[in-house]
Symmetry: C2
Subunit: 293 residues, 2 copies
């Protein structure tokens, strides 16, 4: 690891060595094979626990995969701060360490747990590395297909299929006017008073939907298959890797109010889009989300 990287210049040197990146990916693949895949479509209802609501679920796959990945990361990086979704549910104060951590890793062991727990294949594993809350490395792994979208600051976003040793550089879409845009937005995570308003303007877009899975929403954006992803209820394990990968693929990333994204952000909305002009058109359309009633 390097000690001094100017945050104002694109980083063309790596925070992680290529051997470290490979080790992280292997760790994720092993956790998926050991803890996630065997439980897919074999869970009983009694294996699914609820956190804040019946939409917010957790399974033993989440817990066991996170433990395995967290242990592995600490072996590789003994001084890193580890921010795992399930650990934070028990110890929320861990989040307070992000802004001061020279190196932190976030882990979403099963992103899209509701899908996973109900047998839908749209789930993934997300890991990011942060420097003082700024994402510098990210990967979004798909256990079912054993492929990963991976990148780090200043480099490309790549879709890598480890078993086939195939690798493809990703590029966001060309964007466009609002009526031609496809994207994802977290309708049911909006405040109650904003939902009907949002619903009424959905027809202005070509398509707005939700995969209930940040991992695949961000992968779709980085591949250019959709034009934007709006995220609310920000958590570093859900959004840091995707925000970085969107940038690596050429996209424009900022908070909806125009400020810079930092993984320590908990309030507001993150808008990732194909390019600054498209980003601006979406912000103009969705600006009502920033107004307080």
């Amino acid at each position: 690891m390097r000690d001094s990287l100017s945050p104002t210049l694109p980083m063309t040197v790596s925070t992680l060595t290529s051997a470290q990146r490979a080790s992280i990916l292997n760790l994720v693949r092993r956790a998926a094979r050991a803890e996630i895949l065997p439980r897919f479509r074999t869970l009983e209802a009694s294996d699914i626990d609820h956190k804040t609501s019946r939409q917010d679920v957790v399974t033993e796959a989440d817990r066991a995969a996170e433990r395995m990945i967290a242990r592995g990361l600490l072996t590789l990086f003994p001084n890193a701060l580890i921010i795992g979704e399930e650990n934070v549910a028990l110890h929320p104060e861990v989040l307070d360490g992000i802004p001061e951590a020279e190196l932190a890793f976030t882990i979403d062991p099963v992103d899209g747990t509701w899908n996973y727990a109900h047998g839908l294949a749209t789930f993934g594993v997300i890991v990011s590395a942060l420097r003082f809350g700024v994402p510098v490395f990210g990967l979004i792994y798909d256990p079912l297909m054993d492929d990963v979208v991976i990148g780090e600051t200043g480099g490309p976003a790549e879709l890598v299929t480890p078993k086939r040793r195939a690798r493809r550089t990703l590029k966001v879409s060309g964007g466009g006017p609002v009526e031609e845009l496809q994207g994802y937005a977290p309708f049911y995570m909006l405040p109650a008073d904003k939902q009907a308003q949002f619903g009424a303007l959905m027809p202005r877009f070509e398509r707005v939907g939700s995969l209930r899975c940040s991992a695949h929403e961000m992968r779709m954006l980085a591949q250019g298959h959709v034009d934007f992803v709006l995220s609310g209820r920000l958590t570093p394990w859900d959004h840091a890797a995707g925000a970085l990968l969107c940038q690596c693929a050429g996209g424009h990333v900022a908070m909806l109010d125009g400020s810079a994204y930092n993984a320590a952000n908990r309030e507001g909305y993150l808008l990732c889009a194909s390019d600054p002009a498209t980003w601006g058109r979406i912000r103009d359309t969705l600006g009502f989300l920033l107004e307080s009633d």
Copy 2:
């Protein structure tokens, strides 16, 4: 095959023998292995053709899988009418034969083609058998996981994992009041003048979304993971099997105007829900879809 089955009594005898059902499932599995799986996440943009819009896509996987399944079905049932999605795109008059066909098969070789073509795992193969347009057999196969939801009139809906020889009987959810319902609805297939109205009442449900894939929407309903599926732009290959499987799993199926569903229906909306009371509450909420402006 039997010649006379009273449409007013539950059919407790089979239209197909168990050997015929097994042959159909094997045919679908072979087509998926040969034509669908090898192309998943390996298609180039040039492999994706557009039909009516850029949301309505077709790939060589659809065409080749349909040809293989159609040929196999004709070998098994030389006198059956074959209704394949891609063939009907070229020869729409085939649909006119449904009401008079004593035995017809519908084929959706890749349901959820937009997802499939863009690397999302939410796609499936749907086959149904119809008697004079009434679904009597249906299967929804998931190529990635090699499992199938299958059933026929009067019997249960079962989730079968052929390789593990595992089999589980499915049951729809317990339904409930509108604010606790989760379901799927085809927002962007509604007439333009209905979309904003629909969007504004989405907050009344616990969750309304879309998987862009009838196959998995209907599987989720039959498994009790969601409470309803509303379908528009009816096509027999998209909806006949799912409507039957919902009924087999204990659900209530009817057109939104209360009339009986028949696979020959092209107009109106099909509403599949957990039970008649839940069905009625959804119909009351969505009744505006039936009003002409």
